[in-house]
């Protein structure tokens, strides 16, 4: 073969590797922003005509179901505030589709902090983009309220006072799941699957800690690439390990495909459980039969059980959004309520400096109780409940046929 051909093939190999690395890290595309038309410069009078709030969510990509629903809920709260006439200015959103990608999140964060009308931001379902954008907001001294990313270190003394979070951490989410499946149901033979993202690694650490606290060692642990789609080798390992329960600390894409491939391989007599990242309607794209019996933890409370929650569901459904309410949709709505509360506390001319204190000191009673923040900016309002996949839908465990004894989980 000609030497030039070898160099040509090597060049293609380099291109190939760059495509692989890009795929592993997510697509590098410019931030997709949706900004309503409005004034670009601050008004000269003391009361501005427009105040802007940044909002981040993965509106496209494999996590789009959760991100789009969160965007809808956040927008709904802001629209309600604008329609009420309570604020002397119009609140506008700068919506950034972060595509679950760090570089896109940073690009969007830079756009928000460079806008003189922006006084605060809220966002993130993925911990990686949240961590990357947090640095931008800290440097610009603009407050960021996280509504959905759960890596524990996102709220810390180092990030205080600019970064706050109204959602629970990965440890807080995994704890009630562990108490149920380890203490109450008594599973001891575990196989753990997570992905290489910070979300996956955080959940892996949190659940492994829960096992270790009970002197249980997993029969196997597997970390898969974020863009993996073929889990046949993992399924073979699970079968070979003799595990009675599988924990998946990943998002819906990996969580649903792994469940389907276990089902296809005939591994049905096994408990399949995981974290809130899987609790979206996209999980059921693998089919109701394959999804049946998956047990996931969801943050917050069962909305149907409270009048405020019912009102939120009704308002969301009345608005006619095509994306159904996901695990973190209420948290996005609550985040908007917290920011609106802070805006109220800042009077007629909110500034980023004033908003930092206003958010930290806020006490907001929303659809899931009263949210305040502790000494590192983490919410004190922690709640979680379990859901099971039953006949193609997520059902609160306590209301399900599994709790009633009509159906049983595998591996028991």
């Amino acid at each position: 073969m000609k030497k030039t051909s070898i160099w040509f093939l090597l060049l293609i190999a380099v291109l190939t590797l760059s495509v692989v690395l890009a795929a592993c890290g997510g697509a590098e595309e410019p931030a997709g922003t949706e900004e309503p038309a409005g004034t670009e410069e601050p008004a000269e009078s003391s009361v501005p005509e427009v105040v802007k709030i940044g909002f981040f969510a993965p509106i496209t990509g494999s996590n789009a179901a959760e991100g789009s629903a969160a965007r809808n809920a956040f927008q709904m709260a802001i629209d309600e505030a604008n329609a009420s006439g309570e604020f002397p200015y119009e609140i506008q959103l700068i919506i950034v589709d972060d595509q679950s990608t760090e570089s896109v999140a940073v690009s969007g964060a830079n756009q928000i902090v460079s806008d003189p009308l922006a006084v605060a931001a809220s966002g993130f379902w993925n911990s990686g983009p949240a961590a990357a954008a947090s640095e931008v907001f800290k440097d610009a001294e603009i407050p960021l309220l996280i509504w959905g990313a759960i890596r524990e270190s996102l709220t810390s003394p180092e990030n205080y006072p600019y970064i706050t979070r109204s959602a629970p951490t990965d440890k807080q989410e995994n704890k009630p799941l562990a108490e149920k499946v380890l203490d109450e149901m008594g599973y001891k033979d575990w196989f753990i699957v997570s992905d290489t993202s910070s979300y996956g690694q955080g959940n892996l650490a949190a659940f492994t800690d829960e096992l270790a606290a009970r002197s249980i060692t997993a029969l196997g642990t597997e970390t898969v690439q974020e863009d993996a789609t073929d889990f046949s080798a993992v399924v073979a390992k699970i079968k070979d390990s003799g595990a009675k329960a599988v924990y998946c600390g990943s998002t819906v894409n990996i969580g649903s495909l792994l469940k389907e491939q276990l089902y296809s391989a005939g591994v049905t007599d096994i408990l399949y459980c995981g974290i809130s990242g899987m609790k979206t309607t996209d999980f059921f794209k693998i089919g109701a039969k394959a999804a049946e019996g998956a047990l996931v933890v969801s943050p917050g409370i069962i909305l149907e059980d409270s009048p405020e929650g019912q009102a939120f569901i009704e308002a969301y459904n009345t608005a006619g959004y095509s994306e159904p309410i996901g695990a973190y949709t209420p948290y996005a709505y609550e985040a908007a309520l917290i920011i609106l509360n802070a805006l109220r506390a800042c009077g007629d001319a909110p500034t980023p400096e004033a908003m930092v204190d206003a958010i930290l000191n806020s006490e907001t009673t929303g659809i899931m109780g009263t949210t305040t923040f502790n000494e590192i900016g983490q919410t004190t309002n922690v709640a979680a409940y379990l859901n099971v996949a039953q006949d193609g839908a997520w059902v609160p465990l306590e209301d399900s046929e599994y709790a009633a004894g009509a159906r049983t989980f595998g591996g028991q």
């Binding site: 000609k2 190939t16 080798a233 399924v235 819906v252």
Partner: protein, 318 residues
Amino acid sequence: MSFFLDLIVSAILLGCTYTLVAIGFSLFFGVMDVVVFCCGDIAIFGTFAILGSYTIMQGLGVIQSWPLLFIILSLLVIGAVICALLGLFTYRLSIKPFERTSALMPLLSTIAMGIVIKEVIGLFFMPATNGLSRLFAGANAVTVVSGRNPQGFPSLLSLGGSTDVRDAIIVAVTIGILLLLFIFLNKTKAGLAMQAISQNKELSMMTGINVHRSIILTFVIGGVILAIGGFLLGNYQTVMSFDNGAMFGVKGFSAAVVGGLRNTWGAILGGMLLAFVEVFISGYVGTAYSSIVAFIVVVIFIIFKPEGIIGEKTVEKV
């Protein structure tokens, strides 16, 4: 079944999907001497074309009333026609204009075409499917939500709910396509012409072979094979995303390089080798390392055996 046998079965199934894309690369490279880097995206376009057609047919009530075999054949025909047209479109737009330029030009233009195809799926799958569904089925229309979300692919090959049947069909269809391709390339005038062009384009033209017609035919056949590959992948994977094409294409291309970029049979060997490396590394080392090791194998082949497993060494006299 033992762990080892499980891995072998998994590797064969994965290898089948890689092989079909690798054949696309080999066919195009053999006849055109260019790497058509958007093969994976063409295959995924086929997957989504089939999925969209299935959704429309659901609204029309066809899925409920037609025999399953007829439904599958109809969907395959639709996917094959669309992918063949897309193959021709790719040739006309991103290869033909660069015929007399450096080989890098069509490589870059087909990478760009892959991005265009991916974004077209992401942006237009939902409006196109829902629009056509409402046009044909009216009030009974079945619609999809977003084109950028992962989409569930119907398990058409899991007859009686058995994935063993599905897996057997995937292997059988792949072997069937390879046999048909073998017969076409070796027993028909058009196939022999394609092989002649692959070996020496100038001499083929001098002997009266219509090179342009052979190129068109290559893109049509390649498009059809990629559509079938996309259909099998959809059935195997069950959930597909509009951006699956890049990685699928990279794996197919790597398989073609390992096997011998100009050799169709090398594509089979390369596809299987890559799949076996991936699956066994996943099984015995760790899933996170499978792609890394697979691509290290590709680089080793490029350095030490650049002609591929069964590619022929060419010697250039100076």
